[in-house]
């Protein structure tokens, strides 16, 4: 009935004026994403530094600067990918991992590392349970965890800084020294162990993401939680795994950080949440979940490090850098959202 009436009322046939063709640029940007920017940054870097950009020491400096952020990103990727935005408890996971590792240095070097990693996994499990099972708001919950664990560490260790050589017994001094040395080892005298660990972690992460069922399931969960639920995926378990991986990666970064700083305290890792998120978003991982790749994330991490490097080549002070970083960040996020919307992907 109503349809007939409608046809009577309209005098001219309706033309669909919505755009169907896709802008070449948005498509290109969406496909290649961050690597365009990486190439762009390399060119800018070569110009600014007068060709020294590919010098041995500069490459080393970039790689080392991004190593810790990269380690965090390798795990944080899964959280963002599963549609839970970001994990604001990254700083405290790093601090907790470092503190526990240093505190347990008497179990030997391997024991300390294992305890540190377990501490990270513990926070991952807590987050995974509340967010995966109970569907708590991811950002709010992780913010709260950050505050709570920070309080716990502060009260238990009274805001002190922990030094491994103070805690280690006489016969354990060797493991304390070994612990410190992990952030200072250079494989073949060129590439630091931290950078290698970062790359290995990215490689493992890439395998998990592309070659296992977990990665595939997580994509569905990230894209549409309800759909995933009804296709028989155990969402709780997948999210739990995602958060545990994230906790492990953050704790690894935290242990390296504590070793680098030669001491562990509650304030280790401050600011790494935003740094890692910036890198991940630069890498084209969608905040809505279900979109992004490890390759993109590596690109994001590199771009982040190179941007910092170039800014210091230009001679900007630490604080003017914030301004440039902020604007670049907003611009790239906008570009990402924009190209996604144009392609109808978000």
């Amino acid at each position: 009935m109503s349809e007939v009436k409608k046809n009577e009322n309209t005098t001219a046939p309706k033309v669909d004026t919505r755009k169907t063709e896709i802008n070449k640029f948005t498509l290109l940007f969406n496909k290649l994403g961050i690597w365009i920017i990486v190439v762009l940054l390399i060119v800018v870097g070569l110009i600014v530094s007068g060709g020294q950009f590919f010098g041995k020491s500069n490459i080393q400096s970039i790689l080392e600067a991004v190593a810790l952020v990269g380690m965090v990103c390798a795990g944080l990727f899964y959280v963002t990918y599963s549609g839970n935005m970001t994990d604001m408890s990254v700083p405290i996971t790093m601090a907790f991992g470092g503190v526990m590792a240093v505190q347990c240095i008497n179990f030997g070097f391997v024991g300390a590392i294992v305890v540190g990693l377990l501490a990270g996994a513990l926070i991952g499990v807590i987050n995974g349970f509340m967010i995966g099972k109970m569907r708590a708001n991811a950002i709010i919950w992780t913010l709260a965890v950050n505050l709570l664990i920070s309080g716990v560490i502060r009260v238990v260790w009274q805001g002190k800084m922990l030094y491994a050589e103070d805690i280690a017994r006489e016969d354990m001094q060797d493991s304390a020294n070994l612990f410190y040395s992990i952030s200072r080892t250079y494989i073949g005298g060129v590439i630091s162990l931290m950078a290698i660990v970062m790359l290995v972690m990215f490689f493992i992460s890439w395998i998990i993401h592309t070659k296992t069922g977990f990665g595939q399931k997580l994509k569905i969960i990230g894209t549409n939680y309800e759909v995933a639920k009804f296709s028989g995926i155990n969402c709780t378990r997948q999210l739990m795994i995602a958060y545990v991986i994230n906790g492990l990666c953050s704790a690894t970064a935290g242990i390296f950080y504590a070793a680098l700083r030669k001491c562990a305290s509650y304030e280790n890792g401050t600011g790494y949440d935003f740094d890692a998120l910036t890198a991940i978003l630069l890498g084209g991982v969608s905040l809505n979940g279900g979109k992004g790749s490890i390759a993109g994330t590596i690109g994001g991490v590199l771009a982040y490090g190179m941007l910092n490097n170039i800014l210091s080549w230009v001679g900007l002070g630490t604080y003017s850098k914030y301004l440039v970083q902020g604007i670049v960040f907003l611009f790239i996020v906008w570009l990402n959202t924009y190209s996604n919307r144009k392609l109808g992907k978000a």
Binding site: S57, S61, E64, L68, L260, R261
Partner: protein, 450 residues
């Protein structure tokens, strides 16, 4: 059901924790006079020390104390006039001064020093017109050169000795240094018979403000503050003095104007030390080359002292030495490492020396960047005396660093407060003794205080 039980659980936990906290709040003050290991030293308060030796120990190297005399307070020359009521307390103080030692075997409660304040014409605004490399540009930051005619009405000293008096110490934040400082403060307080309460605002300015208010609310006999920021200090000390409580400032220098509300400042002479260090550095560089600076937290007094102190000194004595860059990457070893690595790539051979504001995290980052780039020829100097720093000095990675006794700092603060309680005129500015730690004399500063 679950909802209800959860709510009950929630409120129950709240109640418990609140009750627990209240207990803590009330209990902390009664806990205070707990005898610590160091307080053993306080027991021999014998009257054996004769009056003459008191005078001897009281007339120290600071024979030239121009500030003290300017302030209108008679410098303690010869006999010290201690009121009758404070005699016993004063002897206890002297005993503590003799017995308390820092962990690296220096006297903990040594007499403070004074330095001459050079005259400049013009106020702070006029000085800011000068170039940054001119010493006088920083005059009002370096010297506590305040207008004494604007001094507030200070509370009168009770002049009945420090025993049994309550002091509240508000530090700036948790750090290994702070822990060392507070331990020493407690030990010194126990030795001279004062009770204490220590508030720790965790580097937060707003937090420190509220702690100042709380401290005033407790109505102690004196308040010692290590200000987080120099500018806020004026307001904080104004509040304390307005409330009729004697205010003392320790360690970090406040704005010169804040001195109008402070009975006495005690702490290291950062500027002087950094100048000495810079002179040493300039000599070893043979007056040429390039220096880069990594600063302390921007805005605090160490920021100016540890960056512009050496810069002005080098500019004056060795004009050929070039300032390459100033960066404030904070206190993260990795950030500092990156900044230094970038410098090495950018400046290459032009970079010959680095001045650091901190000898622990910053030093580790800088030393490692230099080692990674195989540029061990770069001379690095730093401020402070931490365990990590001293190890780097011993291994030769750090060229030198300034020695700032942390426990001595606390000791000097307690000493000054006690003297004020005893009715002695205290100098308005008391500096710690200064020293530079290099590879040669590093062993005399061991074991490290923190």
């Amino acid at each position: 059901m679950m909802k209800k039980s959860l709510a009950i659980l929630l409120s129950g936990t709240m109640l418990l924790s609140a009750a627990f906290m209240t207990g803590c709040g009330g209990g902390s003050s009664s806990e205070a006079p707990k005898s610590s290991a160091a307080s053993e030293a306080s027991t021999p308060a014998s009257s054996a020390a004769p009056e003459a030796s008191e005078a001897g120990s009281e007339a120290p190297a600071s024979s030239a104390a121009p500030e003290a005399s300017e302030a209108g307070s008679a410098a303690p020359a010869g006999d010290v006039n201690v009121p009758e009521a404070a005699k016993a307390s004063y002897e206890k103080l002297l005993a503590a001064e003799e017995s308390l030692m820092t962990t690296d075997n220096h006297p903990m409660m040594a007499e403070g020093l004074s330095f001459d304040v050079p005259a400049v014409d013009g106020d702070a605004a006029a000085m800011e017109e000068l170039p940054e490399t001119d010493k006088n540009h920083w005059h009002y930051k370096e010297y506590l050169d305040w207008d004494q005619s604007a001094d507030a009405q200070f509370p009168e000293s009770p002049a009945d000795g420090q025993e049994g008096k309550k002091v509240i110490l508000i530090v700036h934040g948790a750090h290994a240094w702070t822990t060392c400082y507070t331990e020493a403060f407690k030990a010194a307080c126990d030795a001279v018979g004062m009770t204490y309460d220590i508030y720790d605002p965790n580097w937060d300015q707003a937090n420190q403000d509220s702690y100042v208010d709380q401290a005033i609310n407790e109505r102690p006999d004196a308040i010692v503050v290590i200000p987080v920021s120099a500018d806020h200090a004026t307001q904080q000390f104004k509040k304390i003095t307005d409330a009729g409580i004697p205010a003392f400032c320790s360690n970090t220098t406040p704005e010169a104007d804040a001195m109008n509300f402070i009975i006495s400042y005690t702490g290291p002479n950062d500027w002087y030390q950094m100048r000495t260090l810079a002179a040493m550095l300039g000599e070893s560089m043979e007056g040429k080359g390039g220096v880069a600076y990594i600063t302390h937290n921007v805005g605090g007094s160490p920021y100016y002292a540890r960056c512009y102190g050496p810069m002005t000194e080098l500019a004056e004595k060795y004009p050929d030495i070039e300032t390459l860059d100033i960066q404030s990457p904070g206190f993260e070893a990795s950030e500092v490492k990156q900044v230094v690595a970038d410098w090495i790539t950018k400046f290459g051979d032009k970079l010959n020396a680095i001045v650091l504001a901190d000898d622990s995290d910053q030093a580790i980052g800088a030393v490692e960047a230099c080692q990674a780039a195989e540029r061990t020829d770069i001379k690095i100097v730093a401020a402070g005396i931490s365990k990590q720093g001293l190890e780097l000095v011993k291994s030769g990675d750090l060229f030198g660093m300034s020695y700032q006794t942390c426990q001595g700092d606390a000791g000097l603060a307690v000493r000054t407060v006690s003297e004020w309680f005893c009715g002695i005129d205290v100098a308005r500015v008391n500096y710690l003794s200064t020293d530079i730690a290099t590879k040669d004399n590093a062993s005399s500063f061991e074991p490290c205080q923190w």
